[in-house]
Symmetry: C2
Subunit: 146 residues, 2 copies
DNA sequence: CAATAGTCTATTAATCCGATAGAGTTTATA
DNA sequence: TATAAACTCTATCGGATTAATAGACTATTG
């Protein structure tokens, strides 16, 4: 499951993608429009800025804006940043690998083999979905849910 | 990410699948062999019993054993039981659905559309992988990791 | 009846999550 | 240059969850 932080991040980025190239956007605008607690959002945006995705301008007329192009911000990057590993198990994570303490031999561990399959299937989607893709989806509503 | 509980559950079930039809197995045997804290494992096995997957026998010569056939225990069932939702977001979960508070309209939410894709890809694997499949994988080591 | 082994209740420490408070710093502009 | 706007930083908070442990209890078997 994604954390709220992660979900909020994506929502905020999509919002900023909609305003791309229109100058800085106020935290409070995003907060109100997307129903995200303002102080929480502050921390999130700061983190996205430190990661090089957003830029900010202080003072009067300031705000946050996308520094990278919407199509260059992949969901994998955002999720890893705000939520951590994408894999089901640390021992199959590409970016957050940690040895499995219980395992005698990772190679013969059946669970990790399944976890790898899931990881690859998930990455295939998230690697190829950018913030601009998400924005596009919003504009063409889903045909059928579930 | 899967919780330790979930991972331990699967490891224990695979162990019991290996001993399928050979009578009850001691908690302490599983605990030692799989490096799972005994008391924690106790609670887990009890839960799997209450879910109808395992049976138990008390007293001398007692222990736990699989009640369902290894090929009938799907990973989806075990994970939902011990870890909760499989989906990335509650609003696209089939078994643990919860409305998304921030969303004005779920149908036009781009994130949930992506989350649905991921959910379906994940389920396609986990629905079709049983404890006996995991056991088989252990016997034929992975060719190439990562 | 005694030893074995699962059952139940409860408590714990540690961690993380989501959220908030408040002081500080930078900047535009009147 | 003073002021208000707006981001920045530190810090703290309650609550939930996770992982693990302790101990008393109950059922079974030889």
């Amino acid at each position: 499951m994604l954390s709220k932080k992660s979900k909020y991040s994506i929502k905020a980025l999509v919002y900023l993608a909609r305003e791309y190239d229109k100058g800085p956007v106020l935290i409070s605008h995003i907060s109100e429009s997307e129903h995200i607690p303002k102080k929480f959002l502050e921390a999130i945006l700061l983190e996205l800025k430190n990661a090089g995705i957003l830029g900010s301008k202080k003072g009067f007329g300031g705000g946050y804006y996308l520094i990278k192009k919407p199509e260059d911000v992949k969901l994998t990057q955002v999720i890893r940043l705000t939520n951590g590993p994408i894999a089901l198990l640390p021992c199959v994570s590409l970016n957050f690998y940690q040895r499995c303490e219980e395992c005698v031999d990772e190679k013969t561990c059946g669970i990790s083999q399944v976890a790898m399959q899931v990881r690859d299937a998930t990455l295939a989607i998230l690697e190829n979905t950018s913030i601009s893709d998400v924005l596009k989806k919003e504009q063409t509503p889903a045909k059928n849910r579930k």
